[in-house]
C-alpha cells in the first residue's frame, strides 16, 4: 500500500517536473511576433484636435475585407475617418456599427486580402502572463511606420469597477489590468497579445481615478467583444444599450427608447465627464426645427427634470414614452426659451 503511494508520489514528481519545463516553451522570437502582428494593426485619424481631444487612434483588422475593430470615441464623430495601414496605404473608413456599453465600434474600409486577426482564435490569459501591447500611442507613426510595441505583464483579470466619480467608463465588463502603460493618448483600440502573438484583447481608453489621481491600464478581453463584432459584421446587431441602464445584462426585449436625434437634435460630442448639453446642429425637417430650437442652445430642462450634461439628457430622453408633448427649456444667450415637441411613435415599435 505504502509502496503504491510512494510510487504515485514519485510519478507525480516526475510528471510535475516535466510539466514545469514545458510551460516555458518559446514558440517564436519576439521580433517574429511583432512582424506578424504589426500589419494587422491600423492607425486611425479622425475628429478632434483640441487639448486632451487627440484626433488619432488605433484599430485592428478582423477580416480580410477590411473590417476594423476599435473603441467608440469622439475620433469617429466625423463622417469618415482616415485609416492608414502598416505599409502606408491610406483608406477612408466608415463606421458600420457601434455599441457604447462595450466601448466598441466596427469600421470598414474597401479593401481585399488584408492580414487580420481571426477573432475565433483569440485566447485568454491570467495574471503573470507576459504580454505585448501594440498601438499608435502619441501618433508616433503616421504613414508607413509600424505602430509602437511595448511589453508588460497581466497584473490582474478583474471587473472594471467603473463607478461614477472614481473610474468613469461606459464599459463595465471584465478587463485585464496590465503593469505597463498601455493606455496612452491614441492607444485605445490597439491590441494586447500573448508573447507568441495570440490576440488577448483590445486596449481601452485612458482612465483616471479621480479620487487617487491614478491611471488604470486596462484591456477588454476579446471574448467580451467578439459576439457583438460578429453581429455587426453580419448585420444582425441590435444595441443592448438602452436595456442596460442598471448595468446588468439585458433581460427582456424592449422597444428602443428615444434619443436626441429622434427629435432632430444633435448635441456636441459627449467627451468629458459632464459635457453641457449644447445643441450642435438641428436636423432639417425635424420636430426640433419646427419647434424653433437652434444650434448653440443649451438644454436645461427636459420635462420638469434638470439636465446638467449630455449623459443626463440621454437618460431623460431614454425614459420617454411615446405620445404627448415633450417640453424642453433651453438657454439662448441670456434668455430661457421653452419649446415643446410631439413625441412621435417610434418606427421600431
Amino acid at each position: 500500500m505504502l509502496t503504491t503511494r510512494i510510487l504515485t508520489l514519485v510519478l507525480t514528481c516526475l510528471f510535475f517536473n516535466s510539466f514545469v519545463s514545458n510551460t516555458d516553451c518559446r514558440a517564436q522570437s519576439t521580433t517574429q511576433t511583432i512582424a506578424e502582428i504589426s500589419p494587422k494593426v491600423v492607425k486611425i485619424f479622425g475628429a478632434g484636435g483640441g487639448k486632451n481631444l487627440y484626433a488619432y487612434g488605433t484599430g485592428f483588422l478582423v477580416s480580410p475585407q477590411g473590417h476594423i475593430v476599435t473603441v467608440w470615441s469622439h475620433i469617429l464623430d466625423s463622417d469618415t475617418v482616415a485609416i492608414v495601414l502598416n505599409d502606408g496605404r491610406r483608406y477612408e473608413g466608415k463606421v458600420v456599427g457601434f455599441e457604447p456599453p462595450l466601448d466598441l465600434a466596427v469600421l470598414k474600409i474597401e479593401a481585399e486580402g488584408l492580414p487580420y486577426f481571426d477573432l475565433s482564435l483569440a485566447t485568454g490569459a491570467g495574471p503573470g502572463a507576459r504580454v505585448l501591447g501594440f498601438s499608435n500611442a502619441f501618433k508616433v507613426a503616421t504613414g508607413d511606420e509600424p505602430v509602437s510595441v511595448i511589453h508588460g505583464v497581466i497584473a490582474a483579470k478583474t471587473t472594471l469597477a467603473a463607478r461614477r466619480g472614481a473610474f468613469e467608463s461606459p464599459y463595465t465588463g471584465s478587463v485585464y489590468v496590465v503593469d505597463a502603460v498601455t493606455n496612452n493618448a491614441g492607444a485605445a483600440g490597439g491590441v494586447l497579445t500573448t508573447w507568441d502573438g495570440r490576440l488577448l484583447g483590445m486596449i481601452g481608453k485612458e482612465l483616471r481615478n479621480t479620487q487617487t489621481n491614478t491611471w488604470l491600464n486596462y484591456v477588454m478581453p476579446i471574448s467580451e467583444l467578439s459576439e457583438t463584432v460578429e453581429q455587426i459584421i453580419t448585420g444582425r446587431f441590435q444595441s443592448k444599450k438602452q436595456n442596460d441602464e442598471e448595468g446588468g445584462v439585458a433581460t427582456k426585449k424592449k422597444p428602443r427608447s428615444y434619443d436626441a436625434a429622434d427629435f432632430g437634435i444633435i448635441t456636441i460630442p459627449d467627451v468629458v465627464a459632464r459635457t453641457p448639453a449644447y445643441i450642435d446642429r438641428i436636423l432639417p425637417g425635424s420636430p426640433a426645427e419646427t419647434a424653433g430650437l437652434l444650434p448653440n442652445d443649451l438644454i436645461l430642462f427636459v420635462g420638469n427634470d434638470l439636465v446638467q450634461s449630455c449623459q443626463m439628457l440621454k437618460e431623460e430622453l431614454g425614459r420617454l414614452e411615446s405620445g404627448g408633448q415633450l417640453k424642453v427649456v433651453v438657454r439662448r444667450e441670456d434668455k430661457l426659451v421653452t419649446v415643446s415637441m410631439p413625441v412621435a411613435k417610434k418606427v421600431s415599435e
Binding site: 505504502l2 509502496t3 510512494i6 510510487l7 508520489l9 514519485v10 514528481c13 516526475l14 510535475f16 517536473n17 514545469v20 519545463s21 516555458d24 522570437s29 519576439t30 521580433t31 511576433t33 511583432i34 504589426s38 487639448k51 486632451n52 487627440y54 502606408g88 496605404r89 500611442a137 502619441f138 501618433k139 508616433v140 507613426a141 503616421t142 504613414g143 508607413d144 511606420e145 509600424p146 505602430v147 509602437s148 510595441v149 511595448i150 511589453h151 505597463a180 502603460v181 498601455t182 496612452n184 493618448a185 491614441g186 491611471w215
Partner: protein, 583 residues
C-alpha cells in the same frame, strides 16, 4: 522492507533532482539574469552624472573614449555652461569642458579631464536595432544617485527610424529609437545600451502628457549612427548644423515621393535634379514616404555629399548631391554660449510633441573650475569651443609634413610641365604676380594676382589656376596665408569614397576644402570654389613623386561640375626664387 527503503531513497533522489525544476528558476533564466548583471557591471563605469558647477542642473552622459570624450544632450550641457562637474561610479567628481554641440539633434560632446584611462562604452550599430530588442537605459533620473552609481532600467524597443517633429526652434529627432524602457527627467543625455552593452543611442526625449513629467512608456533615443556622422565636427568644437536638400518633397500617387520645388542655387539643381522627379533612394536607403526622406536627411551634417537616385520619364539616374545647411549661421548662433535659450517654457505638455526631460535641481558644493583647465575653453563665434578646433587643426595638419620643403617658397616662381591623359601638353606657371596655363589643345588661362578677382581660368576648369594658387599658399605659408582656417570634421570623399578629414581655408573670395585621409592622414585632394552657390574646381591626387627633393602630386584629376576637365601628369617642376633672373 528492502523495497520500501529503495523506493524511499528513490523518492529522496527524485526530489533532490527536482530542486532545479520545481523550486528554482530555469537555467536559461538564470543565465539571462547573469548576462544582464554582467552588462550592467561593464557599462556602469562609463555612465556620467553631469552637474552644472553651481549645482543648478543636471543630467546624464556616457564616456566614449579613454581620454574622456563623453556624449550627452545639448539641452543638458546648455544648462550647465562651458565647464561642468561629472560624477562617475567610482565616486569621483571630475571636471569637464564643453567640446561641441548640435542644437538641432540635441547632442553635446564634452571632455572629462584629469585622466587618460577613463572606462568607455563601445559604439554599436543602431541600424541593426529592431522593434522587440531589449535595451538598458542608464543614467541619473531624478538625480537619485548621490554616489554617482547610475540607475538602470530595462525595456523593449517599441519602434525604430522614428521621426519626431521639431519642438521649439531647433530640436528635431530624426531616425530615432523609441523604447518603453523607463526614461525620466535626469536620464537625458544618458546611454541606451543593447544586450551586448554596446552604445546604440543617447536618451533624449520622453512623451509627457497629462500624467506629469514622468515616463509613460514612450522614450526616444538619438541613434548612435546619426551621432557618428557628426562626431568629428563635434570633436572639432563646432556648433554643428544639419542639412537640407535645397529642395522640398511631396507624396505623389501610389506612395511615390516627388520633388516639389527646388532652389536653382542648390547643388541638387546643378547636378540635374528638377521638379516632379521621383526620388527612388537617398543615401543608399529606398524612399517610400516623405517622413522616410526627412528621417534620412536629418541624420547627416551640412556639407556632406550623398548619393541620390531619381527617376524621370522612366529613366533612373544616380547623382551625388552636396547638402546645404539647414539653418543660417546667425540662427544657430542664438544657441551659443552657456545659457542658451531653451525652447520657450513653460510649455503646455502636448502628446504630439514629446518634451525633453529637463534637468532637475541638484545640490552640490559650489566649486570653481581649476585654473589649469580654464585654457581649455576658447570662445569664438560659430564654435562651441574653439580650443578643440585648434587641437584638431594641429592633428590634421600633420598630413602636410611631407611637403615641408615647400615652406617659404611663396615668392618663388613655380613652373609645372606635363601632359594630360588625352594627349594635351601643358605648362602651368604660378608666379608672384600672375598665374598662367598653356596647353596645346585646351584653351589657355590667365589669372592676374594683382587686384583682380579670381575667375574661371582656364575656362571650364572652375578656376584651376586659382585652385593651384591656393595649393601653393598652403604648402609655402600654411595657416598664416589664409584669412580663415578651420577644421570642418570628416565626411566620405565625394559622397562615396573613404572618410576624409576636412580643413577649410578662405582667402579673399576663394574657399577651399582640403581632404586628408582619415586612415593614414595623407592629403588626397581639395575643392576650390570661387564663390557661394557655384560648383568647385575639384582636384584629386592620385600619385605623389619626388621632384628634386620636393614631395608633390605627380598625377591628379580635375573635375568641374558634372564634367571631367582633365587627368594631369606632371613631368617637371622648376622652382626659382623671385629675385633670380628669369630664364
Amino acid at each position: 522492507m528492502k523495497s520500501r527503503v529503495a523506493l524511499l531513497s528513490l523518492l529522496v533522489g527524485v526530489i533532490a533532482m527536482s530542486e532545479g525544476g520545481l523550486f528554482a528558476a530555469e537555467a536559461d533564466v538564470l543565465q539571462a539574469q547573469q548576462n544582464r548583471t554582467e552588462v550592467v557591471k561593464r557599462a556602469a563605469p562609463t555612465v556620467v552624472a553631469i552637474f552644472s558647477p553651481d549645482g543648478n542642473g543636471g543630467g546624464s552622459g556616457v564616456l566614449i573614449s579613454a581620454d574622456g570624450y563623453a556624449l550627452s544632450n545639448f539641452h543638458v550641457t546648455s544648462a550647465c555652461g562651458n565647464f561642468m562637474k561629472c560624477g562617475l561610479n567610482d565616486g569621483v567628481l571630475y571636471d569637464a569642458v564643453i567640446v561641441g554641440y548640435d542644437p538641432t539633434g540635441d547632442v553635446a560632446l564634452i571632455k572629462l579631464l584629469g585622466r587618460n584611462d577613463f572606462p568607455f562604452a563601445k559604439l554599436g550599430d543602431s541600424d541593426a536595432v529592431s522593434a522587440g530588442d531589449w535595451t538598458y537605459a542608464m543614467g541619473n533620473p531624478f538625480l537619485l544617485a548621490t554616489d554617482f552609481q547610475p540607475t538602470v532600467t530595462f525595456g523593449m524597443v517599441s519602434g525604430v527610424h522614428r521621426y519626431q517633429y521639431p519642438a521649439g526652434t531647433f530640436l528635431e529627432y530624426t531616425d530615432c529609437i523609441q523604447v518603453d524602457t523607463s526614461i525620466n527627467p535626469g536620464n537625458s543625455g544618458g546611454p541606451l545600451f543593447n544586450t551586448s552593452g554596446e552604445l546604440i543611442g543617447i536618451n533624449g526625449r520622453i512623451a509627457v502628457e497629462k500624467r506629469g513629467r514622468v515616463n509613460v512608456g514612450a522614450g526616444y533615443a538619438i541613434s548612435i549612427n546619426q551621432i557618428k556622422h557628426f562626431m568629428d565636427q563635434l570633436r572639432g568644437g563646432h556648433v554643428v548644423d544639419h542639412a537640407t536638400l535645397g529642395a522640398t518633397v511631396r507624396t505623389g500617387s501610389n506612395r511615390t515621393v516627388l520633388v516639389d520645388s527646388i532652389l536653382e542655387s542648390s547643388d541638387a539643381y546643378r547636378r540635374g535634379l528638377r521638379e516632379d522627379d521621383e526620388i527612388i533612394s537617398f543615401a543608399g536607403r529606398p524612399i517610400g514616404s516623405v517622413n522616410q526622406f526627412k528621417n534620412i536627411l536629418g541624420i547627416y551634417p551640412k556639407g556632406w555629399s550623398l548619393p541620390l537616385v531619381y527617376r524621370r520619364e522612366g529613366r533612373k539616374q544616380e547623382i551625388f548631391v552636396e547638402l546645404p545647411a539647414l539653418h543660417r549661421k546667425s540662427e544657430l548662433m542664438q544657441t551659443e554660449g552657456p545659457k542658451a535659450p531653451k525652447p520657450p517654457g513653460p510649455r503646455k505638455p502636448d502628446p504630439k510633441k514629446p518634451e525633453d526631460p529637463k534637468p532637475v535641481e541638484a545640490e552640490l558644493p559650489k566649486e570653481e573650475t581649476p585654473e589649469e583647465y580654464k585654457k581649455l575653453f576658447v570662445k569664438k563665434t560659430g564654435y562651441a569651443n574653439y580650443y578643440f578646433n585648434q587641437h584638431e587643426q594641429q592633428r590634421v595638419q600633420r598630413g602636410l609634413e611631407p611637403f615641408v620643403s615647400w615652406q617659404g617658397s611663396q615668392q618663388s616662381k613655380w613652373v609645372v610641365n606635363g601632359k594630360t591623359a588625352d594627349g594635351d601638353n601643358f605648362q602651368i606657371k604660378l608666379l608672384p604676380q600672375a598665374l598662367t596655363a598653356q596647353f596645346t589643345k585646351r584653351a589657355p588661362g590667365l589669372q592676374n594676382l594683382e587686384g583682380a578677382d579670381f575667375i574661371d581660368e582656364p575656362p571650364g576648369s572652375g578656376g584651376l589656376l586659382a585652385a593651384l594658387f591656393q595649393f601653393k599658399l598652403l604648402l609655402s605659408e600654411g595657416k598664416s596665408a589664409f584669412t580663415e582656417f578651420s577644421y570642418r570634421g570628416s565626411q566620405p570623399l565625394d559622397g562615396h569614397g573613404a572618410m576624409v578629414d576636412v580643413l577649410e581655408t578662405k582667402k579673399l573670395s576663394v574657399e577651399c576644402h582640403w581632404y586628408f585621409s582619415v586612415n593614414d592622414g595623407s592629403l588626397v585632394g581639395f575643392d576650390s570654389s570661387l564663390g557661394d552657390d557655384v560648383d568647385a574646381c575639384e582636384v584629386r591626387f592620385q600619385q605623389f613623386s619626388d621632384f628634386q627633393g620636393r614631395h608633390f602630386p605627380s598625377r591628379f584629376q580635375v573635375r568641374y561640375g558634372n564634367n571631367a576637365y582633365g587627368d594631369f601628369e606632371i613631368q617637371t617642376i622648376d622652382v626659382t626664387a623671385a629675385n633670380e633672373s628669369r630664364n
